[in-house]
């Protein structure tokens, strides 16, 4: 018996911003924007909702559907780029809000688009080392809170979401080996300025963004889309091959490829570059956009719902982005 992804749930905030509305607002061609982004709408948090609130809703939904996990969960991992406090850990407050048992470890992981892979590897390791038996891995991100209202390219791309994943031992399936990589020289190309301890928010900053609808109190995201595209096209094919090699698995033995849902331009290009057939390449962008650490679990959930992912399938999961950081594994689902 090996640890495996056993349950996935997700939550999307109720407010929807359509690409049609955005295109109209910025005087862009809607059909062209839709074709290039593949995104029809994204969900936007309420001003008083933060990442852990979305993660809480997803986890609560999962626990409501499967209450037996209240007594089983003995470790919580929370992945986000927007923690509640410097201290205590947000996983700790989430653990309390969810009413989980006291004999339970809690840890935060402030990571972005590769975060889901890192969280899975942590869960896999904790269970394999017999230090826990059932991990609740919550990933939640609110990228729209750090996007300036005038930044069309980012507003059209990103959406907010929360997800909850249970990792536990099952009779069949399991994770293969994980591959990780990092290149901190890419930090400047995707960065939330004034988001934390280095160069914290001051009065000048607050006044500058006083009229911003999302108020940018959590900082402002800057993205060099061209460099992020270059990084993805260079690194992901390498990551794919490295993940196959490390697991002694052949390309044709993968049933489904689920990558971080970065953007349609990047995904289409990677599919072509890596010669992945359409039938094995899963994309879920249209309804939610790029939801950062939530994009892979939301994609897995819908792939299963659509019958494209079934138990026993061999799925390659690749996460990549902010950092730069990247990670990959093969999940026997």
């Amino acid at each position: 018996m090996l640890p495996v992804v056993s349950k996935i749930e997700f939550y999307l905030p109720q407010t929807i911003l359509t690409t049609e509305e955005l295109s109209e607002q910025f005087n862009r061609d809607f059909q062209l924007t839709l074709k290039n982004t593949g995104i029809r709408k994204r969900h936007i948090r309420k001003l008083n909702q933060i990442g852990s609130d979305l993660g809480f809703e997803a986890a609560k939904k999962l626990l409501d559907n499967f209450p037996e996990y209240y007594s089983k969960i003995d470790f919580v991992i929370f992945c986000t780029e927007g923690l509640d406090y410097k201290a205590p850990t947000t996983s700790s407050t989430l653990h309390h809000r969810l009413g989980l048992k006291e004999e339970c470890g809690c840890i935060d992981m402030p990571m972005g688009c590769a975060g889901y892979i890192y969280g899975l590897s942590l869960a896999d390791s904790i269970i394999k080392s017999e230090n826990a038996t059932c991990v609740l891995f919550i990933a939640a991100d609110i990228p729209t809170s750090v996007i300036h209202s005038g930044d069309f390219d980012m507003r059209v791309l990103f959406g907010d979401a929360g997800t909850a994943t249970i990792i536990e031992k099952k009779e069949t399936g399991g994770f293969g080996k994980f591959v990780f990589g990092n290149d901190g020289s890419g930090a400047k190309n995707l960065l939330v300025e004034r988001g934390s301890t280095r160069s914290p928010i001051d009065i000048e900053y607050i006044n500058q963004y006083a009229d911003e609808p999302q108020n940018l109190a959590h900082g402002r995201m800057h993205m060099n889309g061209l460099e992020i595209t270059r990084f993805s096209l260079e690194k992901v094919p390498y990551l794919l091959n490295k993940t196959l090699d490390k697991n002694n698995v052949l390309f044709d033995e993968i049933d489904l490829f689920v990558f971080h849902q970065a953007s349609l331009i990047i995904l289409k290009s990677l599919k072509r570059k890596c010669k992945i057939p359409d039938s094995k390449f899963y994309v879920f962008l249209e309804e939610v956009g790029n939801t950062v650490s939530c994009s892979i679990p939301i994609a897995l959930y819908h792939a299963e719902l659509e019958g494209k992912l079934i138990r026993g399938n061999r799925v390659m999961l690749l996460g990549f982005g902010v950092g730069y950081s990247w990670g990959g594994t093969i999940l026997e689902y």
Partner: protein, 79 residues
């Protein structure tokens, strides 16, 4: 690898289907293409990488004003 500019023009016309077929020429300005936006720069980087295995830098793309310029920089990188 033998490259010709018509092939590049064809690739661009296929990728950017908002461009009327046969209207793009070697001396056509890239940034004056129908509906050009910052997103198209990303599509162009991906297109060149996919078809020519050349990952252009931001600087190279910025300096390529026409399709001919783009062709020249790809040829130079392939040489």
């Amino acid at each position: 690898m033998n490259m010709n500019i018509q092939e590049l023009l064809d690739h661009i016309e296929v990728e950017f289907d908002e461009i009327e077929k046969g209207t793009l020429h070697a001396n056509s300005s890239i940034r004056d293409m129908e509906g050009w936006s910052s997103m198209h720069a990303l599509i162009l980087i991906a297109l060149v990488d996919n078809h020519y295995d050349v990952l252009l830098t931001g600087e190279e793309l910025k300096n390529a004003l026409t399709v001919q310029d783009l062709f020249d920089v790809i040829s130079k990188r392939k040489a």
